[in-house]
């Protein structure tokens, strides 16, 4: 064999090997539309068959952005009922969440601006996060790993025009929150949070989400609905006591980091709904590494004294070195602060 022939053969083999290798590395779609989650004009966010919209009773506050949530289970797979933690979705599941601002919160028909769609995909190696940023034309969203800051403007529910920045997280920031023992996990969709009504397209009335999931075979092993725990809606007093609503708000907004397996475990502060130790919950607990986040106050929570509680100070601050949560908030959520102040005020 001549040298030339050996070279040619080598080149051929190399090409073959490279092709094989490229087949094996999964290519991440560059555009949201590549997934086929939505039918028609994807900015309308009409889910394709198999993609099911859902909502949470008390969601995470994200700078007043509204969210559309969808779940896509792998075909013929279901979730097994478990009411102690977030549901254990099978490999192949994708959770889809689109963030947007209505142009006018008082009148949704005035249109909206889609900002980003986040995907959490359950692969055989674990959950993976991807962020797609909506383009100015609003006809597609493009993959972005490093995050972005966007200026947004809207008319709020009081009729005031508001301008603010909105942070689209980078991939590390995603797992900054979606993190249990350094493993990426979903945060929201637990039985407690899903136990509420939703108006499904094509049906005249609203239906309980758990019942819908059970009826359509998405959820198995579910007890009678009356036996399923239910998280209150934080701003609807008829859905739960002050304590219950405040604890649920803290659970979804803080406990993804502030739990014994989360990124904020170094602080010793645990804001999970299930926490029973008053000190771990912050009551008369001295801060550990709060720095100027302490706001000159001595304890996380001083019963009866919201104005002396670090928790209130940090939720009120918008200074990145003092505020909580550390990410995803640029404005003050006045309404939840009122709830938490009332909660601390009522403490003995």
């Amino acid at each position: 064999m001549s040298v030339k022939k050996i070279f040619l053969l080598g080149a051929l083999l190399l090409t073959f090997w490279l092709t094989l290798a490229s087949w094996q590395t999964k290519v991440v779609p560059e555009k949201l539309s590549d997934y086929g989650f939505f039918i028609g004009d994807i900015s309308r966010q009409h889910p394709a068959p198999g993609v099911v919209p859902y909502t949470l009773n008390t969601p995470l506050f994200s700078d007043y952005a509204e969210k559309l949530r969808f779940i896509k289970l792998p075909s013929r797979k279901s979730v097994i009922y478990n009411d102690t933690a977030v549901l254990n979705f099978p490999v192949g599941t994708t959770l889809i969440k689109t963030f947007y601002y209505p142009n006018d919160f008082r009148n949704q028909s005035k249109g909206r601006r889609l900002l980003e769609t986040r995907l959490l995909t359950h692969e055989s190696e674990g959950w993976k996060a991807l962020v797609y940023v909506w383009n100015t034309e609003q006809d597609d969203a493009l993959l972005e790993v490093a995050g972005e800051n966007k200026a947004v403007q809207y008319v709020d529910d009081q009729g005031n025009t508001r301008q603010q920045n909105y942070l689209i997280p980078n991939l590390n920031q995603c797992s900054g929150c979606h993190n249990r023992k350094e493993v990426m996990v979903p945060i929201g969709p637990s039985v407690r949070q899903l136990n509420g009504n939703f108006i499904y397209k094509g049906s005249p009335a609203s239906e309980n989400q758990l019942l819908y999931w059970q009826r359509t075979g998405m959820l198995t092993g579910m007890p009678a609905l009356a036996d399923c725990p239910k998280a209150p809606v934080w701003n609807k007093p008829e859905t739960g006591s002050l304590n219950d609503r405040a604890r649920t708000w803290l659970d979804i907004n803080c406990a993804h980091c502030h739990n014994p397996d989360g990124p904020a475990m170094t602080s010793g502060l645990n804001l999970s709904y299930s926490e029973k130790n008053p000190t771990a919950l912050g009551i008369l607990k001295s801060p550990v590494a709060a720095g100027r986040g302490s706001g000159g106050r001595a304890f996380d929570i001083v019963p009866g004294k919201p104005e002396q509680s670090i928790l209130i100070y940090r939720l009120h601050s918008t200074d990145p070195g003092a505020m909580m949560p550390e990410l995803g908030r640029k404005v003050v959520h006045t309404e939840s602060l009122d709830l938490l102040k009332a909660w601390i005020k009522a403490m003995q």
Partner: protein
Amino acid sequence: MKLTLLILTAMLFASKVMAQPGIQKRYQTKFIMAEDGSTIELDAGTFSFTGSLSLQDKKRIVISGKGIDKTVLSFKGQTDGAEGLRVSNGESIVIENLTVQDSKGDGIKTMNVKGITFRNVKVEWTEGPKPENGGYGLYPVQCENVLIDGCTAIGASDAGIYVGQSRGIVVKNSKAYHNVAGIEIENSLHADVFDNEAYENTGGILVFDLPDLVQKRGGNVRVFNNYIHDNNLRNFAPEGNIVASVADGTGMLIMAATGVEVFNNRFIRNQSVGTGIISYLFTGLPIKDKSYYPFSTAISVHDNVYERDPGPAAILRGSWDGLFKTIRQTGQQIPHILLDGISDSAKLDKDGKLQSDLRICIQNNKDQSLINLDAGGGFKNMSYDQKPFDCQLVPLKASTVNVR
């Protein structure tokens, strides 16, 4: 023509130090895409970031600048994130040859990293010491094998170099000044702190164990061959933080720690407390953590040099002020070494003394003087008697770290 060139050059230079949103994305992308085992090279120049830069879930990464003050990462205009650099869940990570400036929160936080090296790194707040500065400069927490070598920390409103809830630690050849605490080892095991200079802080070096934390108990901490001087800065920590209770003029403070050996250090002109050894009870803060041990035990302070200018203590706030006034009213100079005298009554032998391996031993220091405050007994039997502390403990073992 020449003018145009000049303007162009000026514009180029200006764009290099002003807000650069493109830089944020470019560097963050580098950090996210870095392959395990690779080196992330940072150029010379000053780069402004609007958010934290983070590295996560990586192994054997070197983040390498062109040198202290040559590669400067400035977070002055930061709007997102609670620290400048953040590294989490990693193995064998090296951060070297760079400066981090003016982050809104902590300078460099590394959490849950096995093998973390800070080499020739400076973290500073450039507008002088003030409560608005971030809490910690270098901040490894819940890490194993921590090496801090040739670093500088300036202006932290808590601790310049802070190692918390970690194990296997060496802090050496480093400088800390104009912080509330220069160097602090908290709830950490097996630490060697040597050949450092801690000066012009409120407190030079602190070794603390605090309650309600995940890693409960520190110990085996050796502090030696350090030059700890002129730590008389007015405490500027925001209230609520434990360091806010450190007295201005503190060379070293040991609180609720077990197994600390302090030797061959020079404690010069720390005008209030050359070396303090206290229990957590001395702070008056409530303790609800049942597994927390609030006493300082097995402490050995030997072969150090103490020097101080004559005269009153540094300007103090709160309870410290009253305490030092009381001492001075007795006509005494304020002694170099201060003990609160609160010990664990459960660990006394039949003679009412602490078990010999748990004692506080103070021996063979140059110009040694001490006061036992008897804080547990309502300060009734304050004593300058050195005899009860004239003892020796078995020297602690050296700490070794396994890093790159």
